[in-house]
């Protein structure tokens, strides 16, 4: 099978293994209207049990769920130093609540954000914060419901790799990166707005 991963503007082989969260039947309803971690459905996710039950490969480049990494942080320190640990989290999770506990984000060669639904635009603000607020410099990947028509926005929000949904043609999706050639506003990729870049 050809790869679904776009890095920069090319399709490349994915040399990371993504560790999934364990299956769960636990549902926690959160109170409405507060700043809490909402999944699109309004449930808390992942739950504590689920994090505990999640398993992952013992060697090689491994992309771990954020909460699973935190749980196993000490035993993973050597692998982290070897550059073989990345983390992923979903759009409802908040990186700022754990930045103090997981050390320097730039120790991770890869951070990936999972977007459950195309219409969930939180991923863009998360990308922007990772680049501009937390100065994350390494590979930032989007995966999940990732399609041609969001990747221009993802690129501009600081992402540089995109795992296209399995049933779609990644080669076709690359075209989306060039939808617009000279955007108006400054963002994470091109920082200056057009009026500073060009004589108007």
């Amino acid at each position: 099978m050809t790869s679904q991963l776009i890095k920069g503007k090319n399709i490349v082989k994915d040399d990371w293994v993504t560790a999934e969260l364990a299956e769960t039947e636990q549902i926690v309803r959160m109170q409405a209207g507060k700043i809490v971690a909402f999944k699109l459905s309004g449930e808390d996710y992942p739950g504590e049990e689920q994090v505990k039950n999640s398993i992952f490969p013992a060697t090689g480049k491994t992309l771990l769920p954020l909460k699973v990494f935190i749980l196993h942080q000490e035993e993973l320190s050597e692998r982290l130093a070897n550059g073989e640990i990345g983390i992923w989290f979903s759009t409802h999770e908040e990186i700022h609540s754990v930045t103090g506990t997981i050390g320097d984000l730039n120790d991770f060669p890869l951070i990936a954000i999972h977007v459950e639904k195309f219409a969930d635009g939180r991923i863009f603000s998360i990308g922007s914060q990772l680049r501009n607020k937390y100065n994350f410099k390494n590979e930032l990947r989007a995966f999940g419901d990732v399609l041609r028509d969001q990747i221009f926005f993802l690129k501009r929000s600081g992402f540089n790799s995109y795992l296209i949904r399995k049933d779609r043609d990644a080669k076709d999706a690359i075209k989306g990166l060039d939808d617009f050639s000279d955007p108006y506003q400054g963002a994470s990729d091109i920082e200056d707005p057009v009026w500073k870049r060009r004589k108007r």
Binding site: F38, F124, F153, Y184
Partner: protein
């Protein structure tokens, strides 16, 4: 007005290509209905009751004669010869064919127009005062900042898929005609004590299902920070606004549930690291955009001989209702009413559009404005040409002298067209206009707004109508709830429901009863809304429901 350079034109052209590709992939079944939906919506395309509806952007309500001419041609070529001007100062076509929508966009691009972000969960058309630049109570012309915000918000990558739609309004006058307190973000320009252009920022206002007047998040913001500050507000909203329930997804719900203090703190935290960042506006950019809005070549010493026409009652009535004072001596702003009895409020035929386009070339420097009250405006007409203009416009049914009067009804398309509506709204407006057909009586009643929405989404702004009418569905039939005491402007307020709802047939007579109570109770020169504020709802309720004389 603003003219595109190569950069603007290229973005709009690239958008047409992108949309064409999206539509092709949808028609080839490479995109599902669900996947195409947010894409078509961001381009103003709704799937309606009868056909798709295409909403075309009119940035801050400003049109050139050339653009209006093009809209008329599009109405003839792709639609049924008319268009509907909306409360967001945009225009909607109700009968285009899906396959032809890219062709329409291509034609629009030829005259520097588009349908970008006219719908969907993104930053919508920026709106402002229809009298910007010409009104004598203006402190700052808001149009150049509106244009800068338009460009910044166009395809802003971070805010392309928000929890819900997001509306920004700007005012620079003493009297707010842009409803800034009823917007997701409202920007009120003023000059601070150091004589600098400054902005008071309102957040979390809105109509819809849960009407809320906005809160002030920042009392004084330097103009150069407006983009980064909006970015901070939008980032907090994008991350924390609810996405599990679309009825609770607007920023107003987030602001209300957190409280303005907590919300402000989150915004200030975000702003702290982007303040003074690359999107901070510099004076070069401000002056570049500003020069597009410089004054036209006004004439001096215009002889005003309006007195000669005093005996012409129809003209005098029009002069008093449909023209506004102007900052330049000898000029007035003229409002063409799209509220003639028998026509759907806000609708204009292609013939009318062409006529307005031609009249603007002849009398008003070739520019037209659309008001959120759904009328068309020529902003710079010489007083000595008003009579000729009136005479010419009469033929096209544009001079009904009802601006600001009871029959100048704000109305959404309603159940006749919109698939969201619970009830029809256009026939309600028409039945009220039919009952109140005596122009002298209307002038005697004076200033009053009736706003009608066919559903909770409140496109007809019923909450802020002095009289608001809301279509509701009860066991499958259409009923209408009436509110009193809503108001727009600097003293915005949300109307209160007077009691159980009415059938469509009853509505005009209920309006008549409301007016009777007002006429009995008003003090000298007291306008309707002031009278309602003074006497309260009881006399109206008693008369309508208990038949107690007021």
């Amino acid at each position: 007005m603003y003219k595109y350079d190569q950069i603007d034109q290229k973005i709009v052209n690239e958008r047409v290509d992108q949309y064409q590709s999206q539509l092709n992939r949808y028609l080839n079944k490479e995109l599902s209905d669900e996947e195409f939906r947010p894409l078509r919506l961001q381009n103003g395309l709704y799937i309606q009751r009868h056909a798709p509806m295409l909403r075309v952007a009119i940035p801050y309500g400003l049109l050139s004669s050339n653009q209006l001419h093009k809209l008329a041609n599009i109405a003839d070529k792709y639609d049924r010869g008319y268009g509907h001007f909306s409360t967001r100062q945009n225009i909607q076509f109700n009968w285009p064919k899906l396959e032809e929508t890219p062709d329409i966009l291509r034609e629009l691009a030829e005259v520097e127009m588009h349908a970008i972000q006219t719908s969907g969960n993104c930053i919508r058309n920026i709106t402002t005062d229809q009298f910007a630049g010409v009104t004598d109570d203006e402190i700052i012309d808001p149009r150049h900042i509106a244009e800068i915000i338009r460009q910044w918000s166009t395809f802003h990558p971070e805010f392309a898929l928000l929890p819900r739609k997001f509306k920004i309004a700007i005012t620079g006058s003493k009297k707010d005609r842009a409803l800034v307190q009823c917007h997701d973000i409202g920007l009120e320009f003023f000059i601070n004590s150091n004589k600098e252009m400054t902005i008071k920022v309102w957040v979390g206002g809105g109509l819809g299902r849960t009407p809320i007047i906005g809160s002030v998040i920042k009392n004084e913001l330097g103009w150069e920070h407006i983009l980064t500050y909006c970015e901070a507000i939008l980032r907090v909203y994008n991350l924390y606004g609810r996405r599990d329930n679309m009825y609770k997804a607007r920023i107003k719900i987030l602001v209300k549930s957190l409280g303005i203090e907590a919300f402000r703190k989150l915004v200030e935290d975000e702003w702290s690291y982007i303040k003074n960042g690359p999107n901070t506006i510099n004076t070069e950019e401000l002056s570049r955009v500003k020069k597009y809005f410089s004054e036209p070549a006004y004439k001096k010493d215009i002889k005003n001989h309006l007195k000669d026409y005093e005996s012409n009652k129809a003209f005098s009535q029009w002069l008093s209702r449909s023209t506004n004072t102007h900052k330049k001596k000898g000029y007035r702003a003229v409002t063409f009413s799209l509220k003639e009895t028998g026509c759907a409020p806000g609708d204009a035929s292609s013939t009318q559009m062409r006529a307005v386009s031609n009249l603007s070339d002849k009398y008003s420097f070739g520019e037209i404005r659309v008001s959120h009250e759904q009328n068309l405006i020529l902003a710079d007409v010489q007083e000595d040409e008003l009579y000729e203009l009136w005479n010419e416009a009469k033929e096209y049914h544009l001079v009904t002298p009802n601006i600001g009067l009871l029959t100048d009804i704000i109305c959404c398309p309603g159940g006749d067209f919109c698939s969201l509506a619970n009830a029809k709204s256009i026939p309600i407006a028409q039945s009220i206009q039919d009952l109140f057909n005596d122009m002298d009586y209307l002038h005697d009643i004076g200033d009053i707004n009736i706003n009608i929405s066919g559903c909770m989404n409140a496109c007809g702004h019923h909450h802020v109508g002095h009289i608001g009418i809301l279509g509701v569905d009860k066991d499958g039939s259409e009923w209408y709830q009436v509110t009193l005491g809503g108001n727009q402007g600097n003293f915005a307020s949300i109307g209160k429901v007077i009691g159980p709802s009415f059938s469509a047939d009853e509505i005009p007579f209920i309006i008549r009863k409301i007016i009777e109570v007002y006429l009995k109770n008003r003090q000298e020169e007291e306008i309707f809304i002031d009278c309602v504020s003074r006497i309260g709802l009881e006399p109206f309720k008693n008369y309508i429901y208990k038949k107690v004389e007021a």
